[in-house]
């Protein structure tokens, strides 16, 4: 990656939507919205609620399915952005086989598809709706299946709502992951007290934005101490300081998510601030920030 920054899946569409609002040269890669085999309609409306310090969303992983993604969204990305800026494709599925099948289809896509990010925070239909990411044994099976289906670099994106992240990190290592991403959104709920109803049609959703940042720092820190796998850190990155904090905790690269909705040029500001910080503190490159905690 030419810079340590990417976009958080689901906050940057299929990579082209912000082309005139952000100077993409600040990005090392673009991570696109989660894709599964077939088109998926997502949840009912309303799908979001603004809360102090962030956003609760229940989009429900609406997406076009892998066929349309390859036939339309990928070529459109090449037209608008080019093939030089690597694309990380976020994938999900309702079964382990589906994960593997999507990964296999992406393996043949060629540039700019450069890596796969596996979202394991979606319900496992066969296991009564429990998410794949909440059982280390199932998680390892998913990672193994995807690993067997593709030679592309594999980033496994973990859920934050577990008592201890280490067994999940181990499962990623055992399954053959090349990197881990932390954090996905945190389960949350918002109630309209006047109507005495949940605000979201799905009743519950996932919290992102400023409020989740300290949670992300802690989990990246815990994971860094447990593994040598590189960590893609995300969660509430609005300013350079937020990104630097995640890097000091152990992240190698950073994704900007919810902040983009408020300021599409967030990544530009964040990169500028990282460079300034490195100069001020005598680091010759941002790579040196990873895990550089003094104490």
């Amino acid at each position: 990656m030419r810079t340590p920054l990417t976009t958080a899946s689901g906050t940057f569409g299929y990579g082209t939507e912000y082309a005139a609002a952000l100077d993409y040269s600040c990005l090392g890669a673009v991570t696109v919205k989660g894709i599964r085999m077939s088109p998926w309609p997502g949840n009912g409306m309303p799908r979001h609620a603004e809360v102090p310090g962030g956003l609760v969303n229940a989009i429900g992983l609406q997406g076009p399915g892998i066929d349309d993604f390859l036939a339309y969204h990928l070529p459109h990305y090449v037209d608008v952005v080019g093939s030089d800026l690597p694309m990380i494709v976020n994938i999900w599925g309702g079964s382990i086989d589906e994960y593997a099948a999507v990964a296999a289809r992406l393996s043949d896509a060629g540039a700019p598809v450069a890596a796969i990010e596996v979202n394991v925070s979606c319900p496992n239909v066969k296991a009564g709706g429990h998410t794949f990411g909440h059982d280390p044994a199932v998680l390892a099976q998913v990672v193994k299946a995807v690993r067997a289906a593709t030679a592309l670099p594999l980033i496994v994106k973990l859920a934050p709502n577990v008592p201890d992240i280490v067994p999940y990190v181990r499962a990623c290592e055992d399954g053959g992951a090349d990197a881990i991403a932390l954090i996905n959104t945190i389960p949350a709920m918002v109630i309209d007290i006047e109507r005495r109803r949940p605000v979201l049609a799905n009743r519950t959703g996932g919290l992102s934005g400023r409020a989740v940042h300290p949670v992300a720092v802690k989990l990246v820190h815990d994971a860094y101490r447990a593994t040598t796998l590189p960590i893609l850190g995300m969660g509430g990155v609005y300013e350079a300081a937020d990104a630097i904090e995640l890097m000091l905790a152990g992240a190698t690269a950073i994704a900007v998510g919810t902040a983009t909705f408020t300021d599409p040029a967030t990544a530009e500001r964040v990169l500028g601030g990282i460079v300034e910080y490195c100069t001020r503190h005598g680091f010759s490159s941002a790579c040196e920030l990873t895990g550089a905690l003094d104490g």
């Binding site: 689901g10 906050t11 940057f12 569409g13 939507e17 912000y18 082309a19 005139a20 609002a21 919205k33 309609p41 997502g42 409306m45 309303p46 799908r47 979001h48 603004e50 310090g53 962030g54 956003l55 969303n57 989009i59 609406q62 997406g63 934005g209 400023r210 609005y238 902040a259 983009t260 909705f261 408020t262 300021d263 599409p264 040029a265």
Partner: protein, 268 residues
């Protein structure tokens, strides 16, 4: 054109009726790029730190300026209302798929509340581009206080027909009453028309039904809660018929906000 950020400056910010404000921004790039029915996404001054942007239709764009007409309804619009002349406002646009540029027959514009905003920009463009167009505006509200921008439509020479629930201006009842009279008149004389509407969902649905029922084109501007405004997050869904006739969850911010009446699938 893709949406870009413009750092605009407030040149005027004034009351436009009880609870309503007009905001005039110096925005040379946006003013040249916007077309009627499109919207802009405003980063609210004072809430920059983390609040989401707020979407507003374009009330007028031209001569280097972009005008918005908004109602104070919550935290974002209340904060926006306190912004002062000379302040800067970060605006993302142009956004969305607006009204068609051409119209066969009489343009019948139907608005409710702040929904009149995009209809004003549309009327201004129509009057400017084809002086023979003669759009008619049907405007409804609960009381006369909800009937906005009447002076601006008068300045454009647009005929206006009003209705209020309490009868304080125009006919007493719903705006669909004077609209239905006009539809009967047009149909009895065999005169073509197209319907353009923006306002509360109930009004949109009523106008869409009339477009579908009369077999004439109807253009419906939907107001859905938004997050990104550019098509990146899938927060702003409206169920519509796709080009292949099959239903799909369209994103109001890019596939709309203006949809053809025929395509909208209303919640039962």
């Amino acid at each position: 054109m893709g949406a870009f950020l413009e750092n605009t400056r407030i040149v005027r910010h004034a009351d436009a009726g009880p609870g309503y404000r007009t905001l005039v921004l110096e925005a040379p790039r946006l003013s040249a790029a916007l077309s009627p029915g499109q919207f802009v996404h405003v980063r609210v001054p004072g809430l920059e730190a983390s609040a989401l942007r707020r979407p507003f239709s374009v009330f007028f764009a031209g001569e280097g300026r972009v005008e918005l007409l908004y109602k104070v309804v919550g935290r974002g619009t209340a904060a926006l209302a306190t912004a002062a002349e000379g302040d800067t406002v970060d605006v993302l646009g142009p956004l969305g798929h607006g009204f068609p540029e051409t119209c066969r027959g009489t343009p019948l514009l139907v608005g409710g509340g702040y929904g009149v905003a995009p209809l004003h920009f549309l009327a201004a463009r129509m009057v400017q581009s084809s002086p023979a167009a003669h759009p008619i505006l049907f405007l409804g509200g609960r009381t006369r206080d909800d009937l906005l921008a009447l002076d601006r439509f008068a300045a454009l020479g647009v005929e206006v027909r009003l209705a209020t629930n309490d009868g304080s201006a125009g006919s007493k009842g719903f705006v669909t009453d004077p609209l239905d009279d006009a539809l009967i008149e047009h149909r009895s004389k065999g005169m073509p028309f197209e319907l353009f509407t923006c306002g509360p969902d109930g009004l949109l649905k009523a106008v869409a039904q009339r477009a579908v029922g009369t077999g004439m084109p109807g253009w419906i501007s939907m107001d859905r809660h938004m997050v990104c405004g550019v098509g990146a997050c899938f927060a702003c869904i409206q169920r519509v018929k796709g080009p292949d006739g099959r239903p799909f969850n369209a994103r109001c911010c890019v596939n709309g906000p203006v949809f053809a009446a025929n395509d909208i699938i209303w919640d039962s």
